[in-house]
Amino acid sequence: MKLQGSYSDNVFINCPFDLAYKPLLEAIVFAVIDCGFHARTALEFDNSAQNRLDKILRIIGSSQFAIHDISRTEVDPVTQLPRFNMPFELGLFLACKSFGNQKQKTKEALVLDHTPYRYQRFMSDLAGTDIQTHNNDPQLLIVRVRDWLRTASRRSSIPGGHIIANRYLEFREELPETCRLLDLDYQNLIFNDYTLLVAEWLRMRDQLMKESSVEPLPPRKGVGHGDHSLGEE
């Protein structure tokens, strides 16, 4: 039986799971965990017998917050059809907020796209909704996620966006070596292993910071605010 985490800590991430989106998904997950929340996606279930929609509904029901990235709602060059899973799951989340009980009505959503106002051409019902853009930039995405979580949750303990973005670069720098020592392929980590590695890395960083008498850890060579690369990926 899997643990579910508490409703007010759960953030449902509704996004593509393809290889091209992976750098963005991994950045979102890092930001969510560094803000003190749980990152939840349909990828966390290993029971293939369970219906996919059931998995998604279960996570939506147990999450106060959700991040919906509709940036990949575009025509597939092979099938000539758009992918509608993300807008569909966004609709499920909004319906849950609208028709659910008092707890469900506290739901908060962040909607993301890669360019401003594009959504108006395929989801005009969302007009008037505050939709944030990320230009497919993981660093910008981290700041967007952090700023939204800070406002939506009203938690003042959430670190600044650029602090998290910089920490993410440090994490990426150490990930290949960490995975090598754990006999893992860092380019093909499964979701549950990745979330564990992120949480343990952040905890260890906090612990080392305490051990060094609250002095900030020194910056790493080659890791700075202006470096927007994500390492090896």
């Binding site: 899997k2 643990l3 579910q4 985490g5 800590d9 759960n10 965990i33 560094d34 803000c35 003190g36 929340f37 749980h38 990152a39 939840r40 966390e44 290993d46 938690r155 003042s156 303990s157 959430i158 670190p159 440090e170 720098e173 150490e174 070596e177 960490t178 020592l181 754990l182 893992l184 979701f191 549950n192 292993d193 979330t195 564990l196 590695l197 949480a199 343990e200 890395w201 952040l202 905890r203 260890m204 960083r205 906090d206 080392l208 305490k210 008498s213 609250v214 850890l217 020194p218 790493r220 060579k221």
Partner: protein, 107 residues
């Protein structure tokens, strides 16, 4: 009164840290949870800029023991999902790699 309570928390916390006290066992003896909750509520509402980083760390330790959540620094939570990885092994390796990066040693 508020300042007095805050000072009381600080004095007590610093004293206990110096003495290496087990926080979970002894904190409630010196200040009641209701009193401390009141102080922490005040801390959440706008006077936090008065505290040094050391003060904040101390208050977070107190708050985490009594309220389950730190006040200043967010708490990283364990994922609610199952991983086959051995947590202790992960911690050991993460620490090893992080320390070697900080000291500039290659692995």
């Amino acid at each position: 009164m508020h300042e007095e309570n805050i000072n009381r928390v600080f004095s007590y916390a610093m004293e206990q840290i110096s003495a290496g006290t087990d926080w979970g066992l002894k904190l409630d003896e010196a200040i009641t949870q209701a009193e401390l909750s009141k102080v922490l509520d005040l801390l959440r509402t706008g006077i936090r800029e008065k505290f040094s980083d050391q003060d904040k760390m101390v208050l977070d330790m107190v708050a985490e023991r009594l309220l389950g959540e730190p006040v200043f620094r967010r708490k990283v939570k364990s994922p609610p999902t199952e991983s086959a990885l051995d947590k202790n092994r992960v911690r050991k390796v993460v620490r090893e790699v992080m320390t070697s990066h900080l000291t500039g040693k290659s692995h």
